[in-house]
């Protein structure tokens, strides 16, 4: 007989993409997610969309959090989402974004597949609770 015990841990990728050197927020969030008991993979700065896709697929993360403060979200985020789609990874990855994203751009991103957008002032508890509730069942 075999005794098996499910030991699921939520895995997150915190991603910085494009020419955006502001990573304080990504660090703070990585730490908060770690303290919530998640496994956090941090991408490092200046990643290309294809690198984020590669990391998301290989690490098989439940959650992809894209931090973007450069204003290039309308270009870079859809590129990542399309890449995930190609690998069949979009359907069961929870994609959230944070950083500086103007209100008028939000509906477009959400329609493209972003589940939630956390702007300045979003609370950590709120974010952790959102992830716990919405992390995909696999």
């Amino acid at each position: 007989m075999s005794v098996e015990q499910d030991q699921r841990t939520i895995r997150c990728l915190v991603a910085k993409v494009g020419l955006d050197g502001h990573d304080r927020g990504a660090h703070v969030i990585s730490r908060a997610l770690r303290d919530a008991g998640f496994e956090v993979i941090y991408s490092g700065l200046h990643r290309a969309p294809e690198e984020i896709v590669q990391a998301t697929v290989q690490e098989d993360v439940d959650v992809l959090g894209i931090s973007i403060l450069s204003g290039a979200h309308d270009t870079l985020v859809p590129q990542i989402l399309e890449g995930l789609e190609q690998y069949g990874a979009l359907e069961d990855t929870l994609v959230v974004t944070g950083g500086i994203i103007p209100d008028e751009d939000r509906p477009g991103l959400k329609q493209a597949g972003v589940a939630e957008i956390f702007g300045p002032g979003a609370s950590m508890n709120e974010m952790v609770a959102f992830i716990r509730e919405n992390a995909p069942e696999r």
């Binding site: 770690r34 993979i41 069949g88």
Partner: protein, 347 residues
């Protein structure tokens, strides 16, 4: 997706299936054992290299450069990078991926971060199983990277065919190198950051320490004087020729210096494993250890189930606290049904 379909997709080269198989292994998701069992017959072609060394010694950077060099030579690469997890929350920040800058967008380098999820021995099982998944997928070289401190990590590194230990320059005097686990596990030693002052001395000290050997194992050929050439043809020379002399290689991983030399050392060690039959001996020992480990885990889970059935540990602790019973008696009584069964089978 069914287990069988998942295995099929993995064997057909689907990256996502490979990633999901490793996730199931890590989560010990129900059915993962069947999954690994199905993979086993497809394994045995990859060369597995363990990379260990203290935090900041340059493991991740070295792994990145090794992966890129292997790719230049037309080989596919799998990487498993292990970081510690918090003993308090179980959370972890896995940062080794940041250094993988030389392999951007190259899916033929499959990089996976893993954390120690806290179960005793669980990590080495999960790592060994993840290596199997990469092996079955068809990776030519698999690099397993871990901080080399403690029993658990040494166990992980032992799943590798070749173990390389990174020693940063100026990492203390030669006594530091005598500490358990450092000199014993390495097949190839790397003095990384060899452009830093003190590197020469570290290389020299390392060579000296390695030459002392460990007791009955002569690590040098020093006593073979030139006149011994004839006697060295004698049969008893076999045992000495069979011994691998650990090598010391200098690298500057960030600049890619010394990587070719290092790969050459890995290959020399791989040839040595093949020519001496050590590869098979190691594999036998590894599988024996794996079976033992699985048995240990299974039995401890059976005992845990028995404990639950009897209402949990707390009441037994109460009894022990009140001096009504002692820990030995409690353990004996919990194992009793199992022991009974074993005794009966023995009759």
């Amino acid at each position: 997706m069914s287990q069988r379909a998942l295995v099929e997709d993995l064997l057909n080269g689907d990256h996502r299936a490979l990633a999901r198989v490793i996730t199931n292994i890590e989560n010990r998701r129900s059915g993962y054992r069947d999954l690994v069992a199905q993979l086993h017959q497809h394994t045995g072609t990859a060369e597995v290299i363990g990379v260990t060394g203290s935090p900041g010694s340059g493991k991740s950077t070295l792994v990145d450069k090794l992966a890129a060099t292997y790719r230049d030579r037309g080989l596919t690469v799998g990487v498993i990078a292990i970081d510690p997890s918090s003993p308090f929350t179980g959370g972890a920040v896995l940062g080794d991926r940041i250094r993988m800058a030389s392999n951007i967008g190259d899916m033929d380098v499959f990089f996976r971060s893993m954390s120690a999820r806290g179960t005793l021995g669980g990590l080495s099982t999960a790592t060994a199983d993840a290596v199997k998944a990469l092996d079955a997928f068809g990776k030519d070289r698999i690099l397993v990277e871990t901080v080399g401190a403690g029993q658990n990590e040494v166990d992980i590194v032992r799943t590798a065919d070749t173990v390389t230990v990174l020693v940063p320059p100026g990492s203390g005097d030669d006594v530091q190198m005598l500490k358990a686990g450092i000199l014993e596990i390495g097949d190839v030693f790397v003095v990384n950051k060899a452009d830093l002052p003190g590197a020469d001395r570290t290389v020299q000290e390392l060579r000296e320490m390695l030459q002392y050997g460990d007791g009955d194992v002569p690590a040098t050929v020093g006593h073979h004087a030139a006149g011994d050439a004839v006697s060295s043809l004698d049969a008893d020379d076999d045992t000495e020729a069979d011994l691998w002399e650990p090598q010391v290689v200098e690298t500057v991983a960030s600049e890619g210096e010394g990587i070719d030399d290092l790969i050459e050392s890995f290959e020399a060690h791989a040839d040595h494993l093949d020519s001496t039959g050590e590869r098979e001996r190691n594999a036998r020992a590894r599988y024996a250890a794996e079976i033992r480990r699985l048995l240990r885990e299974d039995v401890s889970e059976l005992v845990a189930a028995e404990l639950d059935r009897r209402g949990g540990l707390a009441q037994f602790v109460d009894d022990v606290l009140d001096r009504e019973r002692d820990p030995y008696t409690v353990a004996d009584s919990l194992v009793e049904p199992l022991a009974d069964r074993v005794d009966r089978n023995g009759d």
